[in-house]
């Protein structure tokens, strides 16, 4: 079993005014000029390099870090590089107010933990880059400095895929059930 409760350092994706960015689209996460890259390991270095103020994110991020963002994170294109680039960097989880529909599927299917925390943008002052955050995927509990926030827990299929590793490993389990 993989850990369902993790702890890590926050990168709060804020704009120059200090507020969490909403609607960070897939071109800001992984710009179209890198779309020819098919090797996941090569994708990390370009993460967020088209998001104002975060061009150097890939150099600063460490494995185990947690990304915090506003609403509709990952809107736009279906490009999975926008998920894979964070996996390449070893990002432990993304906590956002909400996610773009395809982004959500891509993350779940890749086994990248994503957690939607409704009302997060209103709480923005409570999440600073560098702080430590604990996230419980099973209960949806998000804890910072003893303060507990209620996020959406993983759905069953999300937990199953996460535990299996990714959609392929999960698919093999399904095939096994079919006999």
């Amino acid at each position: 079993m993989k850990a369902t409760r993790i702890q890590g350092r926050i990168w709060a994706l804020t704009n120059p005014e200090g507020r969490l960015y909403n609607d960070i689209d897939t071109d800001q996460i992984f710009h179209n000029r890198y779309l020819h890259i098919t090797d996941v390991a090569q994708m990390g270095q370009y993460s967020l390099d088209n998001l104002k103020g975060w061009e150097d994110f890939a150099k600063k991020a460490q494995p185990g870090d947690i990304v915090v963002a506003g609403g509709n994170f990952g809107a736009g294109s279906s490009r999975q590089q926008a998920v894979d680039c964070f996996r390449a960097l070893g990002i432990a989880a993304i906590v956002a107010e909400s996610f773009g529909a395809i982004y959500k599927r891509n993350a779940i299917n890749s086994g990248l933990p994503i957690v939607a925390l409704p009302g997060l943008v209103g709480l923005a002052g409570a999440f600073h880059s560098g702080d430590t955050l604990a996230v419980d995927f099973a209960t949806g509990e998000v804890v910072r400095n003893g303060q507990v926030y209620r996020a959406e827990p993983f759905s069953q299929v999300q937990m199953d895929i996460y535990q299996a590793g990714d959609i392929f490993a999960y698919g093999k389990q399904l095939e096994g059930q079919d006999g």
């Binding site: 179209n32 020819h36 294109s77 279906s78 490009r79 773009g100 959500k104 599927r105 891509n106 890749s110």
Partner: protein, 417 residues
């Protein structure tokens, strides 16, 4: 209790009497669409350890994103795809020049009423215009569908958008969907199935319906649909030979929202940089200088779009300081436009006609912008940096508005030229 379109199509696909919004099902897609990203998908596929795809007849692969290859890396990806297609015996493969995947898939009969279509492209909802359930997915799960023929889906909740009224001159489906996205915002229909209904929708051609369904992705929709009617059947005749069962929502279906619109007094609309929901009537931005005008893409590269541009530009000259790029959505569209003399009209007016494909829409080639430049485009996205420089600006509008703006060199209301 009645069922929505999405609930009915997905229940039929999984062989259940009924499914309900929120339920997670394991669907068996009728078609899986992919494009240049098939290079990466095939890599994922072989990593699974299988030799053969589950069913090669499900695959539809169209090279459209960077065609012809603009770099050695693109060329290698294309080559990998051709080898994958040959090895797997995939008949539904369309090489460079056939067109954009969302135009080619229906043209070659791969979309029909009641079909479940998934595609590793976010504009896959386009095929709802033919009465299919069509949704975008990612490349990992596209590889999983190749391997297993299956995919988990959460049955989406539904909105029904009912559109009344009569279409004014030089106002089109593009203006309506921009207006709706401006109202509902970029996440307003997140993970929802959007049903378009009402007399103004019935009056639209299949091309117009494709515009609505295509751009529903820009308000987060999982899928969008226009239920089939005589217009649909006429378009499908000769393309789809297999028998199909049309799916219509029940009259007493349960919707999260029913949203009424009326197009009678709708003005041409424009999405300003850098988000698609930053919409206003064209009058509010009229007069802003442009450097480039683009007519094409999976949103507006069809014959009626080129006709709308031709009607405005025929016998005239575009402004000296403007580049007008025209990209027919497919070879079929290009041939029809040639036969009608439209291509000659547009070229004579100063247009640069490019080969069918995605062109500069996603910033890979064929007209990317320099810092400070402004493009007005018929595409579906204007994200910062999408068409090249991060310091460039993209406005989105209808083919008529783009053509009128190319003519004057500034953003222009097409009703005034």
């Amino acid at each position: 209790m009645g069922k929505t379109f999405a609930e009915k199509v997905l229940a039929r696909n999984v062989g259940l009497d009924g499914v309900t919004a929120g339920q997670i099902i394991i669907a068996r897609p009728d078609k899986l669409l992919s494009h240049d990203n098939t290079a990466a998908i095939s890599k994922h596929f072989y990593k699974i350890g299988l030799e053969r795809v589950h069913n090669p007849d499900v695959e539809v692969i169209v090279l459209d994103h960077v065609v012809p290859a603009a770099s050695e890396a693109d060329a290698v990806n294309h080559k990998v795809i051709r080898e994958f297609v040959a090895r797997q015996g995939i008949a539904g493969f369309y090489d460079v020049g056939t067109g954009i995947c969302h135009q080619v898939l229906p043209e070659y009969g791969h979309a029909w009423p009641g079909a479940v279509i998934v595609g590793s492209d976010s504009h896959t909802p386009t095929h709802g215009a033919l009465g299919a359930f069509a949704a975008g997915i990612g490349r990992t799960e596209a590889a999983a569908v190749m391997a297993t023929g299956q995919l988990w889906l959460r049955v989406p909740g539904s909105f029904r958008i009912v559109v009344e009224g009569t279409w004014p001159a030089r106002v089109s489906a593009k203006d309506l969907i921009l207006h709706i996205i401006g109202d509902l915002r970029a996440d307003g229909a997140d993970y929802r199935s959007v049903e378009f209904a009402g007399p103004a929708i019935r009056a639209l051609s299949v091309a117009g319906r494709m515009v609505l369904c295509n751009m529903s992705a820009e308000m987060g929709a999982k899928n969008a649909v226009v239920e089939p009617d005589e217009t649909t059947r006429a378009w499908l005749a000769g393309r789809v030979t297999r028998p199909y069962v049309e799916v219509h929502a029940d009259p007493d279906a349960v919707y999260e929202r029913v949203i009424p619109y009326d197009v009678t007094h709708l003005a041409p609309q424009v999405a300003r940089p850098h988000t698609v929901d930053n919409v206003c009537p064209v009058g509010e931005v009229a007069g802003r200088p442009i450097h480039q005008a683009l007519i094409g893409t999976c949103t507006n590269g069809r014959l009626e779009d080129l006709e709308a541009a031709g009607e405005i530009l025929r016998g005239k000259q575009i402004a000296r300081n403007v580049r007008l790029l025209v990209l027919p959505a497919s070879r079929e569209v290009l041939l029809a436009a040639l036969e009608k003399g439209l291509i000659a009209d547009l070229v004579a007016a100063g247009a640069t006609v490019l080969n069918p494909g995605c062109g500069p829409c996603l910033g890979a080639h064929q007209g990317i912008m320099a810092p400070g430049e402004v493009t007005i485009s018929t595409a579906n996205r204007n994200f910062k940096g999408r068409m090249g420089s991060k310091e460039a600006f993209t406005y989105l509008a209808s083919p008529a508005t783009v053509a009128a703006s190319a003519l004057t060199g500034v953003i222009t209301d097409p009703r005034e030229v």
